[in-house]
Structure formats: structure tokens, C-alpha cells
């Protein structure tokens, strides 16, 4: 079972985000980390490797610094990495990201492509399905459980109020939700071994794509405006005289807001 995990480097979720004039996040201004949702995909891929054999390859598109995210995944136990980096790819939207990843995947040997359900920066959640579309593979999104059996991949697909059981012949694209597993820490031996593992670098010219298919020139979706989330209004502070009054006040509040 060879798994390619598509990983995105994102600004640290706790960092205060700044935006460039074209409404993209200024990545240089913040600490960047592996998209937390992708860590679940990496962990799931490592578990598949441990139970089924095979290999785990990390694929990312991003600036040269995205190599850090690949290194961390290698330290967790992935075998090799592919970094697609090129100034021409800067500003790619979800569709062209999927297009670029699909072209990089064409050069790799895989049984499954795994991703996190979305990235914590743009949060479109479009790439997994767009990737499956580009690759002409089945798309199994929002998986909360992943199982390989009888030449098929089966997942529990999270939907409001429950889950669907979905299966497909692989190769296929699987996106996982938070909580599908508990991602491991990289070990110290893993960290020391990571520097000896190979990271292949690809540029735009390696992808055999028309010049206007990715980056700013290829964008189909455009961020037209960025509005900061409004400050949370201050909560109502009640200072009751007694525990009974406090309980009453809480009950009144819950009732008024139709919680009880």
C-alpha cells in the first residue's frame, strides 16, 4: 500500500494573520506549520504502512520553506518527499493547486492519495475532490475511519448527524477529518533520520502544464476582499448574591436562548 499524502504548509493557526494587497495571507510574516488536518492524513498513512507494508510519500506545493513541513512528516516516519515549488505557482487557487498536485502525482507510484479534509488557512476544502476529479479517481472525503480490505478502501464518511459507509476500488483519493486518529510526535531518531531521506524538487516546467494554468494567471477563484472577524462583544456579567441566585440566573439565560 503506497500512499501519497498531500500536505499544505499553513500559517500557525494561533498566529495573527496579515494580508497582502491582493488579499492573500502574508506567509513570510508568521510561523508556518503543517496544516493540522494534514497531520491526521500523515498519521493515517503511516498506520496503513505499518499494517499493510508499502511506503508513504509526502507531496506538497509551496514556497521553498515548505520543505520544513516535509521534513517534519519525514521525521514522523514518512519515507520520501516531493516539493513542487516555483515562483510561477504563487497565488494558485484550489483548482490549480489540485491540477499541479495531480501532475506531480502522475510521476509517482501510489495506491492511495490522502489529504486532510481542508486547510486551516483558506478552508475551502475543495482540493481533495478537485484532485480526484483531475486524476479521474474515486473521491472519498471527510473520512473518520479508513480501512483497506479485499482490494478496496472503505471509509466512514462524516455527514451531519452520522456517517456513510463508502467504499471504492483503489487507487482513490481519501480526505480525513480531525480525530480520525491521534497524530504521533516525530521521534528524535526520526528527526535525525529525516535529513538522510530524499526530497525531490519539481518546478513548473516539470509539470507539463500550459503557462496560464496555475499561479496568479491561472486563477479561477479570486479573493476580492478580506474582512477581519468582528471582535466578540463582551459577555454579560452577572454578580449574584447567592448560589441559588446564580443558578437561577444561569437557568434564565439558558431558557431565554432556548437551550433548555
Amino acid at each position: 500500500m503506497n500512499v501519497v499524502v498531500c500536505v499544505k504548509q499553513v500559517p500557525d493557526t494561533t498566529a495573527r494573520k496579515e494580508f497582502l494587497p491582493d488579499n492573500r495571507i502574508n506567509r513570510a510574516a508568521v510561523e508556518n506549520v503543517i496544516n493540522p488536518f494534514d497531520e491526521y492524513a500523515i498519521e493515517e498513512a503511516l498506520r496503513l504502512k505499518e499494517s499493510q507494508g508499502g511506503s508513504v510519500t509526502i507531496l506538497t506545493m509551496g514556497p521553498p520553506s515548505a520543505e520544513d513541513s516535509i521534513r517534519k512528516a519525514l521525521a514522523m516516519g514518512a519515507d520520501s518527499g516531493v516539493l513542487v515549488t516555483d515562483p510561477a505557482l504563487e497565488g494558485s487557487d484550489a483548482w490549480s493547486t489540485a491540477l499541479v498536485l495531480s501532475r506531480a502525482l502522475a510521476r509517482l507510484d501510489y495506491d492511495l492519495v490522502m489529504t486532510g479534509m481542508e486547510s486551516t488557512d483558506a478552508r475551502t476544502g475543495l482540493v481533495p475532490a478537485a484532485l480526484a476529479e483531475q486524476l479521474k479517481l474515486a473521491s472519498l472525503t471527510y473520512a473518520s475511519r479508513v480501512e483497506i480490505a479485499d482490494g478496496k478502501v472503505r471509509v466512514n464518511r462524516q455527514i451531519p448527524g452520522g456517517y456513510q459507509e463508502v467504499e471504492a476500488v483503489y487507487p482513490a483519493v481519501v480526505s480525513v477529518v480531525k480525530g480520525v486518529n491521534e497524530p504521533r510526535y516525530p521521534s528524535l531518531k526520526g528527526i535525525m533520520a529525516a535529513k538522510r531521506k530524499e526530497i525531490q524538487k519539481l518546478g513548473f516546467s516539470d509539470l507539463d502544464l500550459p503557462a496560464d494554468s496555475a499561479g496568479k494567471t491561472g486563477e479561477k477563484a479570486k479573493a476580492v476582499e478580506v474582512t477581519p472577524r468582528p471582535e466578540k462583544p463582551a459577555g454579560e456579567v452577572i454578580r449574584p448574591d447567592s448560589p441559588e441566585a446564580a443558578a437561577g440566573a444561569i437557568a434564565d439565560f439558558l431558557q431565554a436562548h432556548k437551550f433548555i
Binding site: 516525530p186 521521534s187 528524535l188
Partner: protein, 382 residues
Amino acid sequence: MDFDLTDEQVMIRNLAREFADSEIAPRAEHFDKHKEFPYEIVAKLADLGFLGLPVPEEYGGAGADTVSYAVAVEELSRGDASVGITVAAHTSLGTMPFLLFGTEAQKQEYVPRLAAGEMLWSFGLTEPQAGSDAGATQTRAKLDGGEWVINGTKSFITNSGTRISGGVTITAMTGTREDGKPEISNLIVPTGARGYIVSRDYDKMGWRASDTHELAFTDARVPEGNLLGTRGEGFHQFLTILDGGRISVAALSVGLAQAALDSSITYAKERVQFGKPIAAFEAIQFKIADMQTEIELARLMTYKAAWLKDQGRDFRMEAGMAKLFAGEVATRAAGHAVQIHGGYGVMEEFPVARYWRDVKIGEIGEGTSEIQRLVIARLLGL
């Protein structure tokens, strides 16, 4: 000149930081309050390879450098100094003596298990009447029928009394040299050796979750082969061991000081008095600026000492300066932190009270600040 950590060092720092934030810090209050050794945390650290961090790969370690080790101890100590000293003592005092001075057979026998964290190891130098004055060592060992027979007491021995303590390497007087001075050698004493008793458990002011015991040797017997390296080399050996240990204790103090600073900044921004957060007042800002400045200086000195060691160069002076300065900086930082927290600073529900209790040992353990000054002065030829 390059002040940046390498990619590996950054990854090790991030791992230690993440682990400290999610696994250590949230439980530090509990372990401190109940004076409980954090077995589960130590087991997880062992799984991740932290108990053999600077040990060469051929002996089962991660093969990381001393800078990485210092960075890791710093970050772990930011979460809990007790965890920091457990790792530091096991590594610098427990494992390093085997690597530095052990025979190949001794290295093969002990180091892989120590690096894997299957057991902890300790180093026994201090006695009721001897510590930095090691010439006053009263523990004696005599050869008898192919065994060393040991009599004496060791005080304040870290990691010696846990369920996973494998043993202790002790200094003992093994005879008298030609010049009339005591001949000191190091002996390997496994837990369970006949006549070796882990006795008193101390009730410490700080580092309460770390294990510290008194050790009693009453006609304790170990095989003759348990001599560490060469007979009569004990004095030189432990001086070298302590030189290395100072780097990790300095790192521990830096981490603890950083924790005190982090708490102070958070609190100063939240605490409102006279209509504004107290962070807006210069009286608070100056304290915080002093802490930031001193901590960064202590960190730089610590990393420099570690870097020199990695270069195979003489690091004794720098290690002494790092431990001296970091220890005193951390004590000041913890004092400022309590002061900034005001009344809450003396309440155990805020971590700064624990920092304040933990911090003082950094000026005492593994050579007091006064001993560091002596070391520095002697290296200056005074």
C-alpha cells in the same frame, strides 16, 4: 558566525516544546503537589528518544549534538523543571560516564538500555561530609575475593530511587596514592546489589517531582569488573562529568526562567489595575525587559558552551559561566514573576509559585554558584 539553530535543532526544539506544552506543563502542578515521580511522562520521553538524545546511534541513541540536548532540556524544563532534571541527570550524570570512561564491554552492557530509557541511571558523588570537596570522600571500597566491598553514604542522588532506577555510579576511595592523597575511583553499583540500600527520600522545596534519595552502602558487593574505566581516575572522571552536566543545568535554568517570563507577560496583559493592564506600567515593563535581556544572554552562553563541546574544544569556562549566570538569572526572573503576579504569585494555583520554589536549586545542584566562580577563577589562573 551563525546564531541560527540547524534544521534538526529546530525540529528537536519544536518537538520538545510541543511535548512540554501538551504533556508536561498541564500536569506539573499535580506531580509537584503530590511529590510524585512522572513515570508516564518519562516513558513517553523514552519512546520519543529523549533519554538518549546525545548518545551516538551505535549505542542506541539519537546521535544528536550537545546544542540539541541543551535546547531539549531547556524546553522540557519550561514545562516542568522536575522533568528537565530527570532527563539531564540521567543523560549527563548517568549515561555520559559510561560513554566517556567505560570499557567497550561496559558501554555495550549499559548504554543501549539507558539510551532507550529502559532504566534510569544516577551518579553518586555527594556525601554527608563531601560534595564539591571530593577529596573528603568517605565512601570506601576494598577488593576482596574478586569483588569490591563498599561502605559509605551518598546524599541527594537524583534518579536513584524510582521503580526504573537501574543503578548508580559512585565515587569511592579505593586506596591511597603514592603522594598520600586518597585514590578515588568510580564504581558501578546496580540496583539490588547486596548491601546497597536506597534509603531516605528527601522532602525538597523544589524539583519535587524528581526523584532524590540517600544511598547507603553496608559491605555492599559488586564484581571487580564494575570499576568504571581505570582505577584511580575517579577524580578526573567526575570533574569531566560535572563540566558536561553544567551545560544541561544551565539549560534547565534558562527554560525555567523563560517559563517565568512567559507567565509574567501573559498575566501582565490580563491584570487590570487603575484602569489599564499592568503591562502598560513602566514598573512592570522594566522588570519584563530585564528578564527578557538576561534570559537571552543566559541562553546564548549556554548554547555557546554546548557548541564548544560539540566542536571538541575546551568548554569548561563557558559551561561554568553559563551555569553560574543562568542559575542566578533564573532566580531573579522567578522573583520578578512572583512580584508581577502580586498576591496570586504566592498562590500555588499559579505556576509561578512553583517556579520560585524550583529555581533556587539551579544555583546549588551540580556545583553551587560559588563553586562555579572558583572554577572560572582557576581557569583564569588565579
